[in-house]
């Protein structure tokens, strides 16, 4: 018997038991749909995080004091004072692969206007910072290099600060707020960035000249970090090398002495985030995959019933010349047919659910193409795996007994 005939026979058998076939397919449909939905949520979240990180600048490089050290004892990097004004100036002079640079000093605390107050973080930066982090000034202007030189008491604030201190939509330009009792005149309001995917309000921010924050608020002579942007994302690694060289020379680090700073790129951040998302997705998918296993057992069960029920048919087929192998193949094709049809329906359900239902719940979703191929393959495997035992049972029947079976 050729394969085409076997397919016809199997299709007829599956179709003649519509209800039963559909019910055993249902497990596969649900399982595959669940796997695809989980994968699409995972992929969607990853993409939305990636998008968000790239709005912060994909070519962003952050220099922090201290080196990464996993074993051994090392000083708290934030207490290290290795990043100094001299480093910033040297970078500004020698940079080739780095376009914009901003030293950073931060301080968290209470900010007051009149009888309103809120908690926020002040970022001491250079004017280039806004470009590096892709902030846009909506009203007013950014502070200038001149303000930096004079350590002027001016600041640019995020939308949240305006809302908390002046009320929604109020005009804040020219008003003076107090951060840790230092008065700061608002010169600009930033366009809203909203919450990031960690749930942090990105608009709760005050940006002032780094000199102002260093001298007047934090009272320190070193930077907590220096942020820069590489010319392009692809040149991030070259830019890191360049910065490393400049800083090593400036810090007079010789030979094999360890760096007393670390440089991280946004690409690295993304990789870390992606791998975290991958783990979460994996856990979800594994949970969904278990339902596929259960569905497979369901198929095996129904196939065993089917084989017993059709003992007479098997006996007849053997009597007229079907070998055990052909009988086994017939039932194997039948179970694969059930699992694959279920799989295809599941893919359909999964894709449309990720396309319409998931976004309706406000979750990001994007079905990775490979998840469709993999689901399909898994269904074929389930059909073969769980159809094998029933098929063997059919193949081993004795035609004499089978044909007289009542």
């Amino acid at each position: 018997m050729n394969l085409l005939n076997l397919f016809k026979v199997s299709i007829t058998a599956v179709a003649s038991n519509k209800m039963r076939s559909f019910l055993s397919m249902l497990g596969i449909i649900i399982g595959v749909a669940a796997v695809i939905i989980m994968m699409s949520i995972g992929q969607g979240s990853k993409e939305s995080i990636r998008k968000e990180l790239s709005t912060m600048g994909t070519n962003l490089l952050t220099i922090r004091p201290g080196a990464d050290m996993r074993g051994g004892v090392r000083q708290d990097p934030s207490a290290m004072q290795t990043l100094k004004m001299a480093d910033y100036q040297r970078i500004m002079q020698e940079k080739k692969y780095v376009t914009k640079v901003s030293p950073e000093v931060t301080s968290a605390g209470q900010v007051i206007y009149g009888n309103n107050n809120t908690n926020s973080t002040i970022y001491g930066e250079s004017p280039e910072y806004l470009d590096i982090k892709q902030w846009v000034v909506e009203e007013g202007d950014c502070f200038t290099e001149e303000d930096v030189k004079k350590a002027a008491k001016v600041a640019v604030v995020g939308k949240t600060i305006v809302t908390e201190l002046f009320g929604e939509g109020a005009d804040a330009i020219g008003k003076t707020i107090r951060f840790k009792s230092i008065p700061l005149r608002i010169v600009g309001v930033l366009k809203s960035k909203g919450y990031n995917s960690w749930g942090m309000d990105q608009d709760n921010v005050i940006i002032a000249p780094y000199s102002t924050v260093m001298k007047r608020i934090a009272a320190q002579t070193f930077f907590s970090s220096i942020v820069c942007s590489a010319i392009t994302e692809d040149l991030s690694d070259t830019a890191i090398e360049e910065l490393t060289q400049i800083l090593r020379e400036n810090h007079k680090l010789k030979g094999d002495a360890a760096d007393d700073f670390t440089i991280r790129s946004q690409a690295e951040m993304m990789a870390t985030m992606s791998s975290t998302m991958d783990t979460v997705t994996l856990i979800l998918v594994v949970a969904a995959a278990f339902s596929l296993l259960v569905a497979g057992i369901g198929i095996m069960n129904i196939m065993l019933v089917s084989v017993t029920e059709r003992t007479k048919e098997i006996g007849l087929r053997m009597a007229v010349g079907a070998t055990g192998a052909v009988i086994s193949l017939q039932f194997l094709i039948e179970s694969v047919l059930i699992s694959v049809t279920g799989g295809l329906l599941g893919i359909l359900v999964g894709c449309s659910a990720s396309g319409f239902l998931v976004p309706a719940f406000g979750m990001p979703s994007s079905v990775p193409a490979w998840s469709i191929y993999v689901s399909f393959l898994v269904c074929v495997c389930i059909g073969i795996l769980f159809g094998y035992i029933p098929a063997q049972k059919a193949a081993r029947m004795d035609p004499i007994e089978a044909i007289r079976h009542e």
Partner: protein, 252 residues
């Protein structure tokens, strides 16, 4: 009759078949020998327990003898594997079973095509042609697409006979082929078998009913796993006449 000149289709040489049931050995066939020539219509007749079912399984290559030799159309069956016997059944034997054994929800023509499905020499078109021809031969040329549940017992058995004929077998093996049918339909079936006999088909008809022997050309009577009698019937009764002599049913 010059028997020796005719072709031997089936030859059994002292065939024995023993079954082990627990610690006991059941001797179903205790040494059976006979030759069946091409074109014979043989009834194998015996009561239940006479070993006729066991003999049928042997003749149908569904089983192999414990001892002795079985030669079907020149091929020794005894040492054949399961798969080889399946192949042999497909090419040399046409089965007709007592309870028709048609596939449910399947049309007459598809049922008849079944044996050819396991024969790679036939393509779909040839299969269909052969099936239609076989159905015409049993008088069902107008019921090709009827499904098995839309047919009467007699029609179903005709389909089963067509299925047995479709592969041009060396021998037609019928197992109580009239057992489930009423008298009238049984005679109709016998008429059909006699027609096939006249066309030169070799037929073996296994039955418990001694009456049927009168319509065949030879009768082998089994008892306790041995041949009690093997007689040539020189005065074959016509099933068609017997059918005509039956009282007409009230409605039809």
């Amino acid at each position: 009759m010059a028997e020796d000149k005719r072709k031997v289709v089936i030859e059994l040489r002292n065939v024995k078949r023993y079954f082990q049931v627990g610690s006991e050995t059941v001797k179903a066939l205790r040494g059976v020998s006979f030759k069946i020539y091409e074109g014979e219509f043989v009834t194998i007749q015996g009561t239940s327990g006479s070993g006729k079912s066991t003999l049928l399984n042997q003749l149908g290559c569904l089983d192999t003898p414990t001892e002795g030799e079985y030669i079907l159309d020149g091929i020794s069956v005894r040492s054949m594997s399961k798969n080889q016997r399946a192949h042999l059944r497909n090419r040399k034997i046409g089965f007709v079973f007592q309870n028709y054994n048609l596939l449910a929800k399947t049309t007459a023509v598809e049922n008849v095509e079944l044996p050819l499905m396991y024969n790679n020499k036939y393509n779909a078109k040839q299969r269909r042609e052969a099936a239609v021809k076989a159905l015409q031969a049993v008088g069902l040329g107008d019921r090709l697409e009827h499904k098995s549940n839309q047919m009467s017992g007699g029609q179903m058995q005709r389909v089963a006979i067509a299925r047995a004929l479709v592969n041009n077998p060396a021998v037609l093996l019928a197992d109580e082929a009239t057992g489930n049918l009423d008298t009238r339909t049984s005679f109709e079936m016998l008429v059909l078998f006699q027609e096939l006999y006249k066309k030169g088909h070799t037929i073996i008809f296994v039955t418990h009913n001694p009456e049927i022997a009168e319509y065949s050309s030879r009768n082998i009577n089994l008892r306790d796993g041995k041949i009690r009698e093997d007689t040539i019937n020189t005065n074959i009764k016509s099933a068609a006449e017997a059918l005509a002599a039956l009282p007409k049913p009230q409605d039809d």
